[in-house]
Amino acid sequence: MRIFGHEAAHSSPRPSSSALFNRRDLIRTALFAGAASVFGPEFSLAQAVSSGLTAAAKGEDGSTLLTDPNWRAAFLNDHQNETLIVLSDVIIPGTDTPGAKEALVNRYLDLLLSVQPAEFQRKFVDALAYIDAESQKQFGKDFRGLGADDQIWLLTPWAFARQPSHWTARNDTRNEAADLGQQHFELLKALIATAYYESEIGQKELGWDGEFTHGPYEGCEHPTAAHT
């Protein structure tokens, strides 16, 4: 089981190199693996001398872009955007709390994708297309056109760890096509989860009440060997 620590609650001042990731690591790994050396042939001395304030330090709120009534996708086409909305809503539906659709997960991912290297954009588009292709194979329809039960039926085998066959455990009987589907699905799920839980709705889902202080950390107050 992998565990992703909540970034704000990630108390280690220095991340250990253990396999305990936070979401930032997750998306970094996904997005930027194999980034070229800074000193490649494209290196040239910058003429402008930078060093100003970041948008955050200037107090700019970047989240308003996503709620703009005239919002238009910057990267995804209409079908991809609609498919992403439907997919994100199956993975993180509205329950007693809002889900991925209300959190505008599609809009944030569209913005993020619009500034990624072509290789990563292709990976994302391929993953969405794979799900449509499987849907066509099983049902003769695109994923977004399926009923809710069929959508869950299609995705569920990819959403859990796979194991070798009970009957022929000594042989590797894993189905390659299923594994490929799982890889595509895991990429999409990780990005959707990141986009959801980093949104304001997602932060509230995790219990955040909007305040930055609640007094000091009180820690363990139990007698020896009674820790919970």
Partner: protein, 560 residues
Amino acid sequence: MPQDVLQQTYDAIVVGSGATGGWAAKRLSEAGLKVALLEAGRAVTAREFTEHIPSYQLKYRNHSPEIVRTRPIQRQCYACMEYNYEWFVNDLENPYSTPPDRPFTWQRLRVLGGRSLVWGRHSYRLSDVDFKAASRDGYDVDWPFSYPDLAPYYDVVERYVGISGAAERNEMLPDGQYLPPMKMSCGEVRLRESIQKKFGRTLTMGRVAILTQPHNGRAPCHYCGPCERGCMTFSYFSSPFTTVKDAVKTGNCTLITDAIVRHVDMNTGSNKAQGVTFVQRTTKETKQIRGKVVVMCAQALESTRILLNSSTREYPKGLANSSGLLGHYLMDHVVGGGASATFDDMKALPTANPPHRPTGIYLVRFRNTPATGKHPHFIRGYGFQGDSMPVFNFNAPGIGKDYKQAVKTGAYSITLGAFGESLASFDNFCEIDPNLRDAWGIPALRISMAHGKNEAAMMRDAGVTAAEMLEATGAKNIRVTTGVEMPGMAIHEVGTARMGNDPKKSVLNTFCQSHDVSNLLVTDGSGFVSSACQNPTLTMMAITVRACDHLVERFRRNEI
């Protein structure tokens, strides 16, 4: 900048305004010396702190393409974020090179306060097991001073900075002057009790430069979490709002920002440094400033770069380099070994609400100690940092309502990551790359460093011992890591102008004074003889105060 700032001759020019430069400026100006404090970056104000801005208000939620484009190296640092990346150097303007098979990540800031704005804040004393390590195991040389020589300066620094922590009476980690420690979680207390009983090892709350009670006019921590984005209550120690502020308040310290020092100027007749030449960051004009003493506090690699760029006819291999050792013995703590696990019987749930304790635990070095004896596979040792708490399980399996619930149920995690001693080696070094200059035309560094077999064995052992301790404490799902990260990742570079008593075998004397040029000091991490395994900033600050007090004495005795 008014011209008269550059017309006078200062008693001391301090290069760099971070943890050590701030102390040098404070100590010298409070003693009545006229000081010019030079910082390569711009000034910083509390108005630009971002610790209370939620990540969803960032346009790219911390995945900004601008960081990828302009900070491809800096973003390897855990603290370089969409919130604050402008504090970090622009890698396109500040290049360095490495041999293809010896990668090194040089993570640094150019802004008033330097890395003290974003540092990890862990503050540990070294002991005589460290200062006299060579006498015990025969590797390399001892430091030119002993623990009792430095202890009073540790006291001075700790009392002023405000270190929260607990005394443990462990000979590997001398106790100091502490504010009350932050609190441990249940998981951490469980680990502390278990390893004390089963292994005789010491786990303590991180000793950190974060206040737990009002101290020197600063308020205690309000537990919002991300110190590396600044602190509106100044509860963690950073130089602009403490030492530099004090220095300027004396009326004896002139702060000059945007001054990128190119080289130290020498009076060849008297063999004395007479000031520095710098490039104004925004206009790129070259300027000079004169001083009776030059104190380098630019951090190990940058101070060394400036000295290597200051060669003269008398010092063709770089200033203060008659030994030929300047730039050599570069060290950075080895990281990469450790383990993580879960306490499946602990039911506390994670929450996104504060309080967020902005630090973790520290497990004191237990290898190759006087008590535990010689390890068969490596010399020296490592300590662990880590933490244990309920965390969200974003990678829970499944979809839908059940997935949402599984995320919130989370798991009670525990993690330990080692920081190990990096052995001093002549073969780990920096030099000037003849073919590379920065955006201001200043020759840039070529850094050549790799961790060796001793470091690799240590990280393997760290994986093994972390797993053993977690298992003995009842943790499940244990996962081990035994790799060696590339040098630079610990951001603890030290050693490129080592101290020593023999001018042929060292660059600086015991008071951080150049053997070759008596009015040139280097008081940042450059002077370290060994890296030990403790986080180095506290020791750098104590060494700076000791060197500055000695310098003030020399002024009083009219030796300058």
